[in-house]
């Protein structure tokens, strides 16, 4: 049986794919963080959510 937190992480990532606010790169970044089996750190999450400067936004 998958641990509850793994079930929640899987459902979370699956649901995020429907969200218009997150790019596939962000979801992949989150997937890596969640699968690393380490405690999530806010700094790492901020990096995932921050698109590179000079990206697609004009």
């Amino acid at each position: 049986m998958a641990k509850l937190q793994e079930e929640i992480a899987d459902a979370f990532l699956e649901k995020l794919e429907e969200s218009p606010d997150l790019t596939p790169e962000m979801i992949e970044g989150l997937r890596k963080l969640f699968s690393a089996k380490k405690k999530l750190k806010a700094d790492d999450l901020v990096k995932v959510f921050s698109p590179p400067a000079g990206g697609d936004v004009k």
Binding site: Q5, I8, D21
Partner: protein, 818 residues
């Protein structure tokens, strides 16, 4: 998960020397009076599996540690001698393994074979100390306030990890929202600067292009037809022409803007600054609140840094990381008022920060102007002021920073240069005194500056949009996680609620067949209400008895473990639980375990020997999968009383000439067996309301009852025409009579030996016949095949059968109907 095969314990907790138990991967019962060493076995198994002992952690255990207090007291200074060796089986791998853990180094178990899959399986077990349940744990689930229950259950189910993930997502969301807010303030500031220069009300393409094309026309440059991200307002100007961006009119507008702002600096964000000062005042007035806030910040930081059993704040070693986390979380929970003040400080600090960005935006153009116009002192003053405000900005984001700013915020926190107004006036006059620029130069510098400010604004807009997108992504992720978490939690509670109700109904099938329970989860608490005999839902402690509450605790534990491990729930250590549950319900408890958890190995301790025997009668354990401790001494540890070994113990004592030891052991054993058999056979001693029966009262009634039952069995066999059975039963009855006679004459000797300290009058030869007589007598009540005591079914009403656990003895007591 795992099943236990055997354990070898040396010098651990209350176990002196060594102790070996053979669990055989089966449910196992350990019984014995209080203080006989049962819990030491549970402690040491828990230690072998997890490196920790729950009893030495939590409330009231300050100063206790596994390393120091895990070993037997005589080995406290020699912890090397204290260790546990646990042999176990891992069903998923089909492998047996041994884990040996020393108290000297609890975090470095020796695992054999040291295969990666074995290590991974044992690491998973080590991560689940909840396989151990004691009565104090039961109370944690049932008789606690809803917020505490929520914490306990979420901790049991490892939901604290999920809470930490949620917290990290929330922190990231807050940080990115702050970044977005700052980027927005910067964009507004740059927008103001551009509009001020263009002298337009809005930055619509129409207004902007009209202002720009008016100057381009002066220079005979082509009008711009539209505004795109690539549009350059000074397109067509030569490089030399763009070298200067001094535009007299624009410079005067910049000076005017800062001059006007300077007039209102004293009042800017005065309300917010006042609130900050008030909040800081509250903290100063209440040192405990301030300490809570400081600790909160400190602890929040510490929690972020926890990565092992050593405290990142003070390097204190803990038994494990979870204990450390729980300790820090408990401290956080105590500082909610401090949290509210912190949030207020942050909100008002953010408002001042936004205002500060706008002021800095006004300083920049004027500083450039002062430098160009060689107002050196003023320029240096503006640099110092801007630098001061830039340094101020990060301090406004934190409580510590704001605390250091209290005095400043009490008064003129902007701290503009003292001569600001005069210097602005002077510079304004100097600029005004400059000859008016030619229309061409005016247009040229206007376009150059407009392009610079448009560039700044575009950069700020891009930053703002990036920050907005990042904040939106973080918020979406946080909201989604909360939603998924809540859904999962509600589903979990529904499942647990159903299983809990089912288990409890089965445990109390005689009187609570309509029992239901309802969990009501909310943000931070979990209400539990249970149906009280159809009269409605109430908290468990409202009307139910202590025994029922104990039952509820175990049922809830089992439901939670089922949800946590599913089919992999293979081991649980139940330390003296269900002790308040009466004997009839304990049979149902055995049935419950057998029915719903057939693949789970329970290691059950109890101080009630009757309950231990009931487990045997119910088929939950056998004589081979149970052990009784009859007493404990500090030098020997638990003294094992097994049906076979008791006689060896007595023989050993006699061989050493210690008649008093042999007599005490025999009497103790007889007391226990008499009580057990009286219950199992339904003997009728003289009733005593206090339940205190002497052996001299119980044993005769047991013998009489057995004699009668065997007579009934013989009569029944006769009625059914079963001659062989009748003869066998008659022979058993005769043997009983003979044994009874032999033993009865010696009873006085046992009593006397124990009560009257007349050991000196007994020699080995005197006592040996006593032992032999009672051993022979008790053998009449035991099955030779399964070694279990006989019992009568049903327990209430007319007796129908006399039998043993394996049915090798199965005597019908009902006569053939006439």
């Amino acid at each position: 998960m795992i099943k236990l095969e055997s354990v070898h314990i040396e010098w651990a907790r209350g176990i002196a020397q060594k102790l070996d138990l053979d669990f055989q991967q089966k449910t196992f019962a350990i019984s014995g009076p209080n203080g006989s060493g049962k819990s030491a076995v549970i402690d040491t198994i828990e230690f072998a599996l997890t490196g920790q002992i729950g009893r030495l952690a939590g409330i009231g255990t300050k100063g206790l540690s596994v390393t120091e207090h895990g070993p037997h007291v005589d080995k406290a200074k020699f912890p090397d001698a204290a260790f546990v060796e646990l042999r176990l089986f891992i069903p998923e791998l089909g492998k047996s393994a041994t884990i040996t853990r020393k108290f000297k180094s609890p975090n470095k178990p020796k695992i054999e074979p040291a295969d990666d899959d074995v290590k991974a399986a044992l690491a998973e077990v080590a991560d689940h100390p909840e396989i151990t349940l004691s009565r104090r744990d039961i109370i944690r689930f049932i008789l606690v306030e809803p917020s505490k229950r929520s914490e306990e259950i979420q901790s049991l189910l490892k939901l604290d990890e999920i809470g930490e993930t949620r917290s990290a997502l929330n922190t990231a969301q807050n940080r990115l929202q702050n970044s977005h807010r700052a980027a927005t303030a910067q964009a507004i500031s740059d927008s103001d600067a551009l509009r001020r220069h263009l002298q337009v009300k809005t930055l619509s393409a129409e207004e902007l292009l009209a202002a720009v094309n008016e100057r381009r026309k002066v220079l005979d440059l082509a009008e711009l037809g539209g505004l795109t991200p690539e549009t350059s307002l000074d397109a067509g100007l030569s490089e030399a022409a763009t070298a200067s961006e001094f535009n007299k009119e624009s410079a005067l507008r910049d000076l005017k803007a800062l001059t006007e702002a300077a007039q209102g600096l004293a009042d800017i964000c005065a309300t917010e600054a006042g609130k900050i000062v008030a909040d800081l005042g509250k903290l100063e007035a209440d040192p405990a609140l301030l300490a809570a806030l400081q600790r909160r910040f400190f602890i929040e930081k510490g929690l972020e840094l926890v990565d092992g059993p050593e405290c990142p704040l003070c390097d204190t070693p803990w038994d494990d990381e979870e204990q450390l986390r729980n300790h820090l979380q408990a401290k956080l929970a105590k500082s909610e008022e401090a949290r509210a003040i912190r949030d207020s400080l942050r909100t008002n600090g953010a408002a001042i920060s936004d205002a500060l960005i706008r002021i800095v935006g006004l300083i920049g153009p004027v500083h450039k102007l002062a430098t160009v116009e060689e107002h050196t002192g003023f320029a240096e003053g503006l640099v110092a002021w801007k630098s001061d405000l830039d340094e101020l900005k990060p301090k406004l984001d934190t409580v510590d920073g704001l605390t250091g700013l209290k005095n400043r915020l009490t008064g003129d926190w902007v701290q503009a240069p003292g001569a600001l107004s005069a210097d602005l006036d002077g510079l304004t006059e100097k600029v005004k005194a400059k000859p008016d620029q030619t229309a061409a130069l005016n247009a040229q510098t206007f376009l150059t500056k407009a392009q610079v400010r448009l560039g700044d604004y575009r950069t700020a807009l891009r930053q703002e949009k990036l920050a907005e997108a990042a904040a939106a992504s973080a918020k979406a992720a946080y909201d989604t996680y909360c939603s998924v978490f809540e859904t999962a939690l509600n589903t979990l509670y529904e499942e647990v609620q159903d299983d809990f109700s089912t288990f409890y109904r089965e445990l109390n099938r005689d009187d609570e067949t309509k029992f239901t329970a309802k969990f009501t989860p909310s943000e931070s608490k979990l209400d539990l209400d249970v149906n009280f005999y159809g009269r409605g839902l109430f908290p468990p402690g409202a009307y139910h008895s202590e025994g029922h509450q104990d039952g509820m605790g175990v049922c809830l534990y089992l439901a939670l473990m089922k949800r946590l491990f599913g089919d992999r729930f293979s081991l649980a250590l139940l330390d003296d639980v269900v002790m308040s549950v009466d004997s009839d319900h304990r049979y149902e408890f055995c049935k419950l375990l057998k029915k719903h958890f057939p693949e789970t190995q329970f290691i059950i301790t109890t101080h009630d020997r009757l309950w231990a025997e009931q487990m045997k009668s119910a088929g939950l354990v056998t004589s081979k999968t149970s052990v009784a401790f009859h007493s404990w001494t500090i030098d020997t540890g638990p003294l094992v009383e097994s049906n076979k070994e008791i006689w060896n113990e007595i023989d050993d004592a006699l061989a050493k000439g210690k008649v008093e030891v042999a007599a005490a052991a025999l009497r103790h054993h007889l007391e226990y067996v008499s009580r057990h058999l009286a219950d199992e056979l339904g003997a009728s001693p003289q009733f005593r309301a206090d339940g205190n029966y002497e052996m001299g009262e119980l044993l005769p009634s047991v013998l009489a009852r057995m004699h009668k039952l065997l007579g009934k069995a013989a009569d029944a066999a006769q009625s059914w025409g079963d001659k062989a059975k009748r003869e066998a039963t008659a022979a058993r009855r005769k043997a009983l009579s003979e044994s009874k006679g032999a033993a009865a004459v010696e009873q006085w000797a046992v009593n006397k030996a124990v009560h009257y300290n007349e050991w000196a009058n007994f020699g080995k030869k005197d006592f040996e016949p006593v032992v032999a007589a009672f051993k022979d007598l008790l053998d009449q009540f035991r099955c030779e095949t399964c070694d279990a005591w006989v019992y009568v079914t049903p327990r209430r009403g007319n007796s129908e059968s006399l039998r043993c656990s394996c049915d090798a003895i199965s005597l019908n007591l009902k006569q053939k109907p006439k």
